[in-house]
């Protein structure tokens, strides 16, 4: 039965209909106004026109819609219960730019905020901005109200501006895009629109709408394009079918002559196939026998025996190893025990701490009452959870909140005198050989890009905190070939230097605007058919004082840069606030990714402030100097769920002008990180992480050094630890 378990588990993620039958979250509370279908713009509700509906909080979705008007790929995130965001990559047919291909590729961003939800007679009301960064083909704004008429029929009505009023805005051909077009919002006259949706049954819904969009694009150089065929009627019709709760198929017609189809996937971090995980049951707590039954254990006399601690440490270390925990060191006295563990298995540190506490009740003599469990990261202690053993015995099989109230989280003592290191933990040599897959999905220019090959990786931990790491990659096949950067001169948009041209002329390593090419030639590092060294470093992590963590990394830090990187972080265990600073002295690596360097060298770095807000939001502000020597700031806002999902957005603005920066005007992007354990139920700290950023540009470029301190330290600090505390007794 065990054999095909993983198969079924994977099937459960692929076929969510089965997985959701009767999950806990479906035992319902009052439903907000949730969309019954996805629109062609990737928003809940309507066909082309918007509604005031939302998605369940935290939902991450993708909608692809095809018609004669083009193809829209939308990535949707319900960032807050009322705030829906869409990042769109579209191919718009019928418009010719310099390439004269009959279509253009366009990126756009939408925001919609539901101001009020439906209540009593009052409809839900939302306000939205479509394609609001720069003037785009889809630019428009709206205010819309939606109300249930009967339990199955829902109506929306609103006022639209821009394309939603059939009055598309004139697009400035010289604009680099990417900045909000604030002066144009809600201008140019409004027109009403509306839609009605009918939920026929659990799976099928039908929508009819009245839309003013005439699918015209106008440019400031006087050119005007009709996308596809002009709609001959304002009425659009659609049918949507949901074979499972997470999938939707749609067919629609715009104006009666143009037909389209779409497909949506919706993932909710709350709907895990195995919400509690499939890890093996933890060892039960073993209560102590009465003092009469074990006078020797209760007396504490055993602590005088020099053979006691080594024997206990060995037994506990072996038991912890089966739980994916490494017992680094231990201090033991007659009534107190401290263990320092490295968690290699559980995404929530609380589960590692809880399982360690259970094992301690089974391994320690009866007189030990104070249990201190210190988490470590890269050999450095990060926080200590102190528990009374009698609380652990008393509160097993009660709600997790009770043991949380009886515990204390404090900073770990950096230099305790009585710790004894476990035998055989250091030095530690690890190697692995595995395949790798590099995927590029959201490049409007290149379509889907991929590279497959093998990677050998080894690490040698000489002492706690001192780690040598190396990796070697060999490409097998793929379509990510070597290519020079975009030429970037007037009239050459979309053309690239060949690698030979780029290598032959060192002057090309600076853009025509005078910016050193620090990232825009990143494709020069790809397509190597010989082995490459992605990383070869020596890193030293330390905790010199109670709240202070440091890192020094030297060597080949990343694909394109080598040098030295030093970082310091101040982060008390129970504080939501942290400060950090990083200085890097780096040199650009040669394109063969071996040990040679190119001429460009820079000293850069930043100071950072971090704050953990409520509801799993964290904010990070970096101020400093970037790879190209430009100075500026990066603001990152991340939403994180207790199960490990992370969805974040960042913007970087530096002293480069929009012209110097190029298309997009400034750097911005979205990061997604989904733990594999969420999808498979198997306990693991592994995650898949993707960054969707507009373009590889030279302004606001960061160094991609591994081992930045904040996320590593924060895992076991109070905000994140208590957020995941529900897993303590798991």
């Amino acid at each position: 039965m065990r054999r095909s378990l993983l198969v079924r588990r994977l099937m459960a993620t692929v076929l969510p209909a089965a997985m959701l039958a009767g999950s806990v979250s479906s035992v319902a509370v009052a439903d907000p106004m949730l969309g019954r279908n996805m629109s062609t713009y990737g928003l809940p509700g309507g066909i082309d026109t918007p509604t005031a509906e939302t998605l369940p909080d935290g939902t991450l979705g993708a909608t692809v819609s095809w018609s004669d008007y083009g193809r829209r790929g939308n990535v949707t995130f319900q960032a807050l219960p009322g705030l829906t965001t869409v990042l769109r990559y579209s191919r718009i047919d019928g418009i010719n730019d310099f390439r004269r291909e009959g279509y253009i590729s366009d990126r756009s961003l939408d925001l919609r905020y539901q101001i009020v939800d439906e209540q009593g007679w009052r409809p839900a009301v939302a306000v939205g901005l479509r394609d609001f960064l720069g003037t785009g083909v889809y630019s428009g704004e709206y205010i819309v109200a939606t109300r249930n008429i009967t339990p199955t029929v829902r109506a929306s009505a609103g006022l639209g501006w821009g394309t939603l009023a059939g009055r598309n805005r004139t697009i400035d051909v010289n604009d680099e895009g990417g900045t909000p077009n604030l002066d144009q919002l809600f201008t140019g006259g409004a027109k009403p629109f509306g839609s009605i949706s009918w939920q026929v049954n659990d799976r099928l819904s039908l929508v009819a709408e009245y839309s003013n969009d005439n699918y015209v694009a106008t440019y400031s150089n006087g050119r005007e394009f009709q996308q596809g065929e002009a709609p001959d009627s304002n009425v659009n019709l659609a049918a949507y079918y949901r074979p499972g709760r997470n999938y939707e198929l749609g067919l629609y017609t715009i104006g009666g002559k143009t037909f389209g189809a779409q497909f949506s996937v919706l993932l909710n971090p709350r709907d895990a196939p195995y919400p509690s995980g499939l890890e093996k049951a933890p060892a039960p707590v073993r209560p102590r026998p009465s003092p009469a039954a074990d006078p020797e254990g209760w007396s504490g006399q055993w602590s005088q025996d020099p053979t006691a601690q080594p024997a206990i440490q060995k037994a506990l270390g072996d038991a912890l190893a089966k739980e994916g925990q490494i017992l680094q060191s231990m201090a033991l006295s007659a009534n107190r025990a401290e263990v320092r563990i490295r968690n290699q298995r559980y995404i929530n540190q609380a589960e590692a701490v809880g399982r360690t506490a259970r094992l301690m009740t089974r391994a320690l003599p009866a007189s030990v009452e104070t249990l201190v469990i210190t988490s470590t990261s890269d050999g450095v202690p990060t926080s200590s959870v102190t528990l009374r053993r009698s609380d652990v015995e008393r509160l097993e099989n009660t709600e997790a909140g009770r043991i949380a109230a009886a515990s204390a989280v404090t900073d770990a003592d950096p230099f305790p005198g009585d710790l004894v290191r476990s035998e055989g933990v250091y030095p530690r040599f690890r190697w692995s050989l595995k395949p790798y897959l590099d995927l590029g999905i959201f490049s409007a220019e290149d379509g889907l890009t991929y590279e497959v090959g093998g990677e050998a990786r080894a690490s040698y931990e000489i002492l706690p905190g001192l780690v040598a790491t190396g990796a070697l990659r060999q490409r097998a096949f793929g379509n990510i070939d070597q290519r020079g950067p975009a030429i970037g001169l007037p009239g050459t948009r979309g053309q690239y230097y060949t690698p030979e041209e780029y290598l032959a002329d060192p002057a090309l390593e600076t853009t025509p605007e005078g910016v050193p090419r620090v990232r825009s030639d990143t494709r020069m590092y790809t397509g190597n058919s010989d082995p490459v060294i992605p990383e070869l470093t020596l890193a030293w992590y330390a905790k010199p004082a109670r709240n202070i963590y440091t890192r020094v990394t030297g060597g080949l830090l990343e694909r394109a840069y080598g040098g030295v990187s030093a970082e310091v972080l101040w982060k008390p265990a129970d504080s939501p606030l942290a400060f950090g600073a990083e200085v890097n002295r780096v040199r650009k690596r040669d394109f063969d990714q071996l040990v040679d360097f190119r001429d460009y060298e820079v000293t850069m770095g930043h100071v950072s402030a971090y704050y953990e807000l409520t509801q799993g939001f964290t904010a990070q502000l970096d101020l400093g100097k970037y790879l190209a020597g430009d100075k500026g700031a990066t603001l990152t806002l991340t939403r994180e769920f207790a199960n490990g999902w992370q969805i974040g957005a960042f913007v970087t603005k530096t002293d480069l002008s929009a012209e110097e920066f190029g298309e997009g005007s400034f750097d911005k992007g979205i990061t997604l990180s989904i733990p594999l354990s969420w999808a498979t139920g198997q306990p693991s700290r592994e995650r898949t992480t993707t960054t969707l950023r507009s373009l590889s540009r030279d302004g606001g470029a960061q160094l991609n050094v591994n081992g930045r301190l904040y996320d590593r330290v924060r895992d076991s600090h109070s905000v994140k630890l208590y957020e995941g505390w529900g897993r303590f007794w798991r």
Binding site: R3, S4, L6, V7, L10, S23, S25, V27, G58, P269, R270, A272, Y274, P275, S276, L278, E279, K280, A281, P282, A283, P284, V285, R286, P287, G324, Q344, R345, E393, E396, N397, T398, E399, A400, G401, R430, W431, S432, L433, K434, P435, Y436, L437, F641, A642, N643, G644, L676, T680, G681, S684, R685, E686, T688, E723, G724, G726, R727, W729, R730
Partner: protein, 219 residues
């Protein structure tokens, strides 16, 4: 070449890509690609295994007799209705009146005098149950009470569900029935009580796992 065979070969090729190294299983995972490869490997193994004859399944009675012979400690027989499997579980720990029983695969039921208070290792576990009705059930009395069932939800939080329950005598002599309702769900637990201990029962674990029947083989 038949398509089925081709598929198997492709799966084997993919499986051979999976990782190797000297690290523990926790460290050497190779991301989504590794998971796919592992799945393919298991699919191949399952295909091979399905061709081989297997020993006839033993009946639950036979297995119970064998377990009683081999294991000297407390044992229960648990039938998970939605999973369609019946398993013998042995006590692995006792804390006060609460006992943890586990299968060899380390899935656990936690019982307090026969009353289900938690499960582990099943994927949709009941974290902990707090039945106010427990005293009524043990004493065989009738009455009402609340029952809080805590589950670990997909977003990583422990969430309580509250049910209103009525306890009374069931149709069969000696059987106590607890009927609960709340959150659009309702369920009925049945208990056979002897001297305050629940010796046989059918209890609801949660919306995803449904009912488990628990029979005491050796108290």
């Amino acid at each position: 070449m038949k398509p089925a065979r081709k598929m198997t070969l492709a799966a084997v090729a993919l499986a051979s890509l999976s990782a190797c190294g000297n690290g523990s299983e926790d460290e050497t995972g190779s991301g989504p690609l590794g998971v796919l490869a592992q799945t393919a490997q298991q699919a191949v193994a399952a295909r091979r295994a399905s061709g081989q004859p297997t020993a006839p399944e033993k009946s639950p009675d036979e297995r119970a007799a064998e377990a009683l012979r081999v294991n000297p400690g407390p044992l229960i027989l648990a039938g998970f209705e939605s999973l369609g499997k019946t398993q013998i579980m042995a006590m692995t720990g006792q804390n006060g009146g609460t006992r943890t029983y586990m299968t060899p695969a380390e899935e656990a039921l936690i019982l307090r005098g026969g009353m289900l208070v938690g499960t582990r290792g099943l994927g949709n576990d009941l974290s902990v149950a707090e039945p106010e009705t427990e005293a009524l059930i043990r004493s065989g009395a009738s009455g009402n009470g609340q029952r809080v069932m805590r589950y670990f939800s997909g977003d990583g939080l422990e969430r309580p569900l509250q049910f209103n329950c009525t306890v009374g005598a069931g149709g069969k002599p000696g059987v106590i029935v607890e009927s609960c309702r709340g959150h659009g769900a309702d369920f009925q637990n049945s208990y056979l009580v002897q001297g305050g201990q629940i010796v046989v029962s059918r209890q609801w674990i949660g919306p995803a796992l449904g009912y488990v029947t628990v029979q005491t083989l050796r108290p």
